[in-house]
């Protein structure tokens, strides 16, 4: 049985794209009495497990999904974080 690798894909709005969610969060800061926090960008994080022969093969699958499905390259960028090799039945490994 192939080993399973777990990844997180972090998708954020591209630089220069208006992010109204980030702006709304920023506008709430004065209500918390917080100042000096800026450039808030709200994105999404997708975690997934991939069965593959090795980590490099697993990463290729994640790169394809991240580029074609999880993000829209016109408006978003993504970053892939390996969460470590894990046998399929083990939960998220400690980092």
């Amino acid at each position: 049985m192939s080993p399973t690798f777990r990844f997180a894909v972090n998708v954020t709005p591209k630089a220069g794209i208006l992010d109204p969610q980030g702006r709304a969060v920023e506008q709430s800061l004065p209500h918390l009495g917080v100042s000096g926090v800026s450039a808030i960008r709200v994105g999404r994080r997708v975690e997934l497990s991939v069965e593959a022969s090795d980590a490099a093969a697993a990463r290729l699958v994640v790169e394809r999904l991240a580029g074609e499905l999880l993000s829209n390259p016109l408006i978003e960028t993504f970053q892939i974080d390996p969460l470590g090799a894990a046998s399929s039945l083990v939960g998220e490994p400690s980092r």
Binding site: P20, N72, I75
Partner: protein
């Protein structure tokens, strides 16, 4: 009678209105299921409004990978007429069948109200039945309708006549920058609808099919649906020899 298809995704909610509007425009409405691999020989296709696949991940993206979209993409590549309305526009944009993307509305709120738009061109398969370039009142109902493309693409769209509709002020004058009444979702260059480069695929955020009969006190949208039906009929007629002899 010209058969015009309406794709039904799980979560579509504008499908019945679109089917009804096709009938009002003297076409024969044909429902197409999202798992269908063929378009049943229709002369044109509408991707309706709604929340296909719950709008999960991004509006339109999961619908883009449904089996029927493979058939729609092939149909479009052959010059077939495709109109995406609201969520259907989002599906077309995610599929790369029209340029650009639809972002969250600038003020974040879901918007359900009437807007005023003008067609930029009357010589397209989607606007030919409009009598004038005068303003139309059409309803919008969306959370992600802020049209976005990079500056170079926007310039190219303007240059090549791919801007189909624009949001304008109620009197028909241009929407001033930041005018939330006229351009409520903050679309760049106030773009409400675009064409692909070949001119046979269009995406439109407002809902012409929801303003297509007098009993609704607004039939401004009917001419858009009628344009599609007429264009599909013309296309079928010019492809006559292909249709002859298909009877068993």
């Amino acid at each position: 009678m010209t058969r015009v298809g309406v794709v039904i995704f799980p979560g579509s909610n504008g499908d019945e209105d679109a089917l009804q509007a096709i009938g009002l425009a003297d076409g024969e409405p044909v429902a197409l299921w999202h798992e269908a691999a063929s378009l049943d020989g229709v002369g044109a296709v509408i991707l309706p409004g709604g929340f296909a696949y719950g709008d999960y991940l991004r509006a339109g993206v999961i619908a883009r990978f449904s089996p029927v979209m493979r058939a729609v993409a092939a149909f479009a590549a052959e010059g077939g007429l495709v109109l995406g309305i609201c969520n259907g526009f989002q599906v077309l944009a995610e599929a790369g069948l029209v340029p650009g993307a639809l972002l969250r509305n600038r003020r974040l709120r879901f918007l359900g109200r009437d807007v005023t738009v003008v067609p930029e061109r009357l010589d397209t398969p989607f606007t030919r039945a409009l009598a004038t370039r005068g303003p139309l009142r059409l309803p919008i109902a969306h959370g992600e309708g802020c049209y976005y493309a990079d500056e170079a693409t926007l310039d190219q769209l303007e240059r090549d006549g791919q801007v189909l509709f624009r949001y304008v002020a109620a009197d028909g004058g241009p929407a001033a920058p930041g005018d939330d009444r006229a351009n409520p979702n903050g679309s760049l260059r106030a773009i409400a609808g675009v064409l692909n480069a070949a001119g046979n695929v269009a995406g439109l955020m407002p809902h012409p099919e929801r303003a297509a009969e007098a009993v609704l006190r607004n039939d401004d949208g009917l001419a858009i649906i009628r344009s599609l039906v007429e264009s599909a009929a013309e296309r079928a007629a010019s492809a006559g020899p292909v249709l002859v002899g298909t009877a068993p």
